[in-house]
């Protein structure tokens, strides 16, 4: 099941060239790029593992792409995303986030129903590999 989240989620996967262009855009606005990866794409799993520290003060996308290559090499079968952090006073938050790598075979999400008090139903999702 193709998991989508963040920017460009309705588009096909970005090519490296397109990723570079997006990173250039982020850097031109002085955003810092952080790389994160996970094997669990559950929508509630918001905190992914960090790949190194977020990269501040970069001038060129080549540095980010170098880290992406290293991360892909270490976790080829993981989801990898870029978070662009805007440190402007008053924002100080992630302003852009997009997926740059996904596993060949993606896990599925299954909905689980549970009967609770009375005839009420509870719904939850779980990741199945």
């Amino acid at each position: 099941m193709r998991i989508t989240q963040g920017c460009f989620s309705f588009l096909p996967d970005l090519t490296d060239e397109q990723i570079t262009a997006q990173v250039e855009y982020c850097l031109s606005r002085n955003w810092a790029i952080g790389i994160e990866y996970t094997d669990d794409p559950h929508p509630r799993n918001t905190y992914w593992e960090m790949w190194g520290n977020p990269m501040f003060d970069l001038q060129d996308a080549a540095g980010v792409m170098m880290e992406l290559a290293a991360c892909r090499k270490a976790f080829p079968d993981s989801y990898i995303r870029f978070n662009a952090f805007d440190s402007t006073r008053g924002f100080e938050t992630v302003t852009m986030s997009f997926i740059v790598n996904r596993p060949k075979v993606e896990p599925r999400l299954r909905m689980v129903r549970q009967e609770v008090d009375g005839r009420s139903q509870r719904y939850s999702f779980e990741t199945i590999r």
Binding site: G52, N53, M55, L58, Q59, D60, A61, A62, G63
Partner: protein, 312 residues
């Protein structure tokens, strides 16, 4: 880039026009104007610029082109303008389209080498990432290698540097700088560096006349003038200073100029009565230069005589 052939490749290319339009001409002229002396350095820069222009022309004609390796080493005595030239180099490479951003990241050993195990690699990588798209200037690069301590983390930084210099040749240019003899040692003990650096540029010492022109240029820049007597005294100062220890070419001369400003200010403050005009405020006189202890045998004589230091 090489895969998609551009539509119709032009049949000829006008190097002269290319030279004019790229803005390299302005930069080279600026270099000639602002950097006094350093003829071998300027020659090498001109050659490099020509090579890059020709490579670009070849590319536009669809001829095979291989991005030349542009990592450099600048060797020379202190104060011979290595950092200044590195800054200009970044500009030239940017205008030739060799680096994308053209900024200069200037670092020393401390910025690359970590304090404990596992600290060096991320630190070096971070610096390299910041320098991507521009020029990484490593000042006093020989400190990276400490032969006396085999567990020194400098070696790790060197390995990462070499790897990135090789793999990301299109993304950044590394310039190593340092004093000639120690750099030679450094290259001998790290053959990897020597082979990856194509351009070894030596910075010669300035001659006395060049130093005098430099100081006049600095003064003009800050709206100061020297009387003819002061100029003669400065010429003598340069000759004497060169023979004394810790002579650092243009840097020593800049310091001498700063101190003469100090003395001039003091002289004006103690002697002047009434209104001063702009000329008085910007003229350096002979006395301001003659007061230097360089004329009395330099630093050591001062210590022996235990006089109050007038020359900081």
């Amino acid at each position: 880039m090489d895969g998609d052939t551009p539509a119709p490749a032009p049949a000829t290319v006008d190097l002269r026009a290319e030279f004019e339009s790229s803005g390299v001409r302005d930069l080279l002229e600026e270099l000639d104007r602002e950097l006094i002396g350093l003829y071998p350095v300027k020659e090498r820069i001109r050659e490099t610029a020509a090579l890059l222009l020709v490579e670009r022309a070849r590319k536009s004609l669809g001829l095979s082109h291989d991005t030349p390796t542009l990592h450099m080493s600048f060797t020379g005595n202190p104060g011979t303008g290595k950092t200044t030239v590195a800054l200009k180099m970044a500009g030239i490479l940017k205008r030739l389209g060799y680096v994308r951003k053209g900024h200069l990241v200037s670092v020393t050993r401390d910025d690359l080498v970590g304090q404990y195990i596992g600290h060096t690699a991320p630190k070096t990588k971070e610096v390299l990432k910041k320098a991507m798209g521009g020029v990484l200037f490593i000042d006093e690069a020989y400190y990276l290698y400490r032969p006396d301590n085999e567990r020194d983390y400098g070696q790790e930084a060197i390995e990462i540097l070499l790897q990135v210099m090789e793999n990301n040749r299109d993304d950044l240019v590394v310039i190593l700088a340092g004093y000639a003899d120690r750099m030679d040692n450094f290259f001998n003990s790290n053959p990897g560096f020597r082979s990856r650096i194509a351009h070894h540029i030596e910075f010669p010492d300035y001659t006395d006349e060049e130093l005098l022109r430099i100081v006049k240029y600095m003064m003009a820049d800050q709206n100061y003038t020297m009387t003819p007597q002061a100029e003669a005294a400065f010429g003598e100062y340069i000759r004497l200073r060169r023979a004394q220890p810790h002579f650092a070419n243009a840097r020593s001369i800049r310091n001498a100029f700063d101190r003469s400003r100090l003395r001039q200010a003091n002289r004006l403050f103690t002697e002047a009565v009434g209104a001063l005009d702009a000329a008085a405020l910007s003229t350096i006189e002979e006395a301001d230069i003659r007061a230097s202890r360089v004329f009395r045998g330099g630093l050591d004589s001062e210590r022996i005589r235990k006089e109050t230091a007038d020359d900081l």
